[in-house]
């Protein structure tokens, strides 16, 4: 009834449509698996239950809290309301120091203990990560 050309075009449209659906599904699915949420120490305190998911925690490095040994760095992140202990073994960025903003990525062990796998580098003295600015809020 229909010509060869019409059939071919119809086939093409169906193919494109299917692959569009497939790729949208794939993108959304892996987005769900791979996004990292950002929390402040206060958000962590209010968490209902602890999920074993990678998160980011941001705030200030508390004064006199950095403790360094040969294979670990321990410090405390604070948003001036709540604090959280962080253990980290890895590279620290140049601007990592006490009283400066920091973002740590890793897993929560419990509500006040965090094991970081990455400390994020920010390369400007005057620059503060927007999340940190917000987390510290009114301060």
């Amino acid at each position: 009834m229909y010509g060869q050309k019409v059939k071919l075009r119809f086939f093409f449209i169906v193919l494109i449509f299917l692959s569009l659906i497939l790729s949208t599904y794939l993108v959304l699915k892996s987005l769900e698996e791979n996004v990292v949420y950002f929390k402040s120490p206060s958000d962590v305190k209010e968490l209902g239950e602890l999920e074993n998911k990678k998160i980011r925690i941001g705030g200030m490095v508390k004064k006199n809290s950095i403790d360094i040994s040969s294979n670990e760095i321990n410090f405390i992140i604070t948003d001036f309301k709540n604090e959280i202990n962080v253990t980290y073994s890895g590279v620290v960025p140049n601007l990592f120091s006490e009283g400066k903003g920091v973002v740590a990525e890793g897993f929560l062990k419990d509500r006040s203990f965090f094991k970081a796998s990455k400390i994020l580098a920010k390369h400007d003295e005057n620059y503060m990560p927007p999340e940190v600015k917000e987390a510290i809020g009114e301060k």
Partner: protein
């Protein structure tokens, strides 16, 4: 003071000179047969004025004129002369002035180089380009004037961010901008050609040079940025899926697809809708790049201090441009109804089209990963970030068919190709899968995906090597670029699989030992340089009987007061040894990171090969 006001008035006059260009263009559009020479004259005057303005800013930087706010914010008297000059475009205002300079330069070159083309088309292109130029003039003068006057005049400037004081980063922005701004000519020209229904072979031959030139600059610009991030940021990798990197990758993907479509348009006069849409997309993405980097919306290493108002302006401007271009596309574009549009399933066109769709898929993945966090933040104020696994997972599997089609496509003929005589393609395919299986089998990694990935990259690699030697093959530039791409993917895969890293904290004199090798921290010395103090660490790496000496550095800049780590990298044919050190809280412990990165050199070389293909193609056309 003098140079600064000279620059400012030149900028204002340059803005005013858009008026005569508009006037003569519109007058000339209807009445005469040849292009009014006044348009070219005024375009040149505009270019000259913007150039004077740019020179004015450069001289303000050279003479450290701190009555100029831009100079005050980004320069310092103790800075070496070279970085005073390159500091001109290391900041927002200066880099936009550079954008404008390139915009006016390109339209002038366009006018000179397009003499044999339709007059109406040339005039319309000038008009569309002028709209963009005026947009940038208003933006510069209104919200980011590089010549703001400061009183009282400060004695000393704020200094340039030390991580920007680097030769690679000195030429990275101009090269990248040449690529970005080149896409503006493509954009204006496509709109003009669509309006006049002039999308044709002649047009394709002419615009192809512009596409090629922008593509080469964009490729090299991204390469330079990537190399800089590798050794200066001390992250020890070549790509981090950082939003700002993504923002330059997106126009590259669109432009690469466009380049292939232009080829089809030139040879076969089809795919014209693709060409129009991709040209608009490329320019929009380039503008988005500037917008996202400069507005502070993106959370990335590049976000230095910035201003949301500027972002809003660029965004509004961008929407106007998109609106105009979509209107023109739907109102004027007529789909070609000629026979050339039909082609068989087994043909060059088909494989090109399939890979176009793959490219669009990669582009959407990068786009979603980059802007999804922004949307989520606006809609629910939930803050998230999208990590590398997202991109790897979504891109890697689709690279397999992509690479295979990339290998097969060029072997086919236009319109309809015979399968007979293509037996070697199957043989090479089996060989590459076998080799890849034998390599991967010995390693402790995921067997299936790695075998197939490396196999398909190897397939492209071998097919291209065969092409180099086969006599009837003529398209050397395409061959070179595709070969470069296969080498790039291979190097990236091996780099990924074989990379190793050790992070430890050491005091001077201490030693790290893990049976395989030793890292010995021998000594630490202090040096005083012109604008920074340097602490140099002396390390020896002992592996088996080999000993490497590496000297990473910590620099404490005086103005602004920033500490940076300078990595020391020992590059050999097969791998890079990469070491960085950092202090923590002035303690005796230094934070040491040592990495072995295989085939790093080949990643850079392969990108150079890819662009060399483009350069070759650009100049072969010239000679013909």
């Amino acid at each position: 003071m003098l140079y600064s006001s000279l620059g400012y008035y030149a900028l204002l006059l340059g803005f005013v000179s858009s008026l005569p260009i508009f006037f003569f263009s519109i007058k000339n559009f209807k009445d005469k047969q040849i292009l009014d020479y006044k348009i070219i004259t005024f375009s040149f005057i505009q270019l000259f004025l913007v150039f004077i303005s740019f020179l004015g800013l450069i001289f303000s930087f050279i003479y450290s004129d701190f009555s100029n706010e831009t100079v005050f914010n980004n320069s310092h008297t103790t800075k070496p002369l070279f970085y005073k000059i390159v500091g001109t475009w290391g900041n927002h205002e200066g880099s936009l002035l550079l954008w404008l300079l390139v915009l006016t330069l390109f339209i002038f070159i366009f006018l000179i180089k397009s003499r044999e083309l339709l007059k109406k088309y040339r005039i319309l292109t000038v008009l569309f380009q002028q709209i963009i130029i005026i947009g940038f003039f208003i933006f510069l003068i209104k919200s980011s004037n590089p010549f703001n006057y400061l009183f009282p005049v400060p004695k000393e400037g704020m200094g340039l961010n030390p991580i920007l004081q680097d030769p690679a980063l000195a030429i990275h922005p101009p090269i990248l901008y040449l690529g970005y701004v080149g896409s503006s000519i493509i954009f204006s020209s496509v709109l003009a050609a669509t309006t006049l229904n002039y999308i044709s072979k002649t047009w394709a031959v002419h615009i192809k040079n512009w596409v090629l030139a922008s593509w080469i600059f964009l490729t090299l610009g991204i390469l330079l940025g990537s190399i800089w991030a590798y050794y200066e940021l001390g992250w020890g990798g070549f790509w981090f899926w950082d939003p700002v990197e993504n923002v330059s990758l997106m126009p590259w993907l669109a432009l690469t697809t466009l380049l292939h479509c232009i080829l089809v348009l030139e040879k076969r006069s089809s795919l014209s809708s693709w060409v129009i849409i991709l040209s608009i997309t490329t320019f929009t993405l380039s503008m988005c790049g500037t917008f996202l980097v400069r507005s502070g919306i993106l959370n990335s290493v590049h976000t230095f201090a910035n201003d949301p108002e500027r972002g809003l302006y660029i965004l509004t401007f961008l929407f106007i441009l998109i609106f105009i271009s979509l209107f023109i596309f739907f109102a004027f574009h007529k789909l070609e109804k000629d026979k050339s549009f039909s082609f068989s399933i087994i043909s060059k066109e088909t494989s090109l089209l399939i890979n176009n769709w793959f490219m669009m898929y990669f582009l959407s993945v990068v786009l979603v990963g980059t802007i999804y966090p922004i949307f989520l933040d606006v809609l629910s104020s939930e803050q998230i970030s999208v990590g590398p696994p997202f991109y790897h997972k979504l891109i890697a599997p689709f690279l397999i068919p992509f690479l295979i089609f990339m290998a097969i496509g060029p072997q086919l003929k236009w319109i309809k190709s015979e399968i007979i005589g293509k037996f070697y393609l199957v043989v090479i395919f089996i060989i590459s899968m076998l080799i890849s299986f034998l390599i991967i089998k010995k390693l402790n990694v995921n067997l299936l995906i790695n075998t197939v990935l490396i196999g398909s990259a190897l397939y492209l690699f071998l097919v291209n090597i065969r092409d180099f030697f086969s006599k009837k093959f003529k398209n050397t530039s395409q061959n070179l670029s595709h070969f470069g791409f296969s080498l790039l993917i291979l190097s990236i895969l091996f780099n990924n699989i074989f990379s190793s890293e050790i992070i430890t904290n050491l005091k001077v004199g201490e030693k790290f030992d893990n049976n395989k090798f030793q890292i010995i921290f021998n000594d630490l010395k202090k040096f005083e340089e012109k604008n920074y103090i340097s602490f140099k660490g002396y390390f020896s790496i002992k592996e088996n009987d080999l000993e490497d000496k590496l000297q990473p550095e910590l620099r404490i800049y005086n103005q602004p007061n920033i500490i940076t780590s300078e990595a020391d990298i020992k590059t050999t044919f097969f791998n890079d040894k990469f070491i960085t050190m950092n202090t923590v809280k002035d303690e005796e412990y230094f934070n040491i990171r040592y990495q072995v990165k295989p085939f790093m050199l080949w990643i850079w070389v392969s990108v150079l090969l890819i662009s060399a293909g483009g350069i070759l193609s650009f100049f072969t056309r010239r000679i013909e």
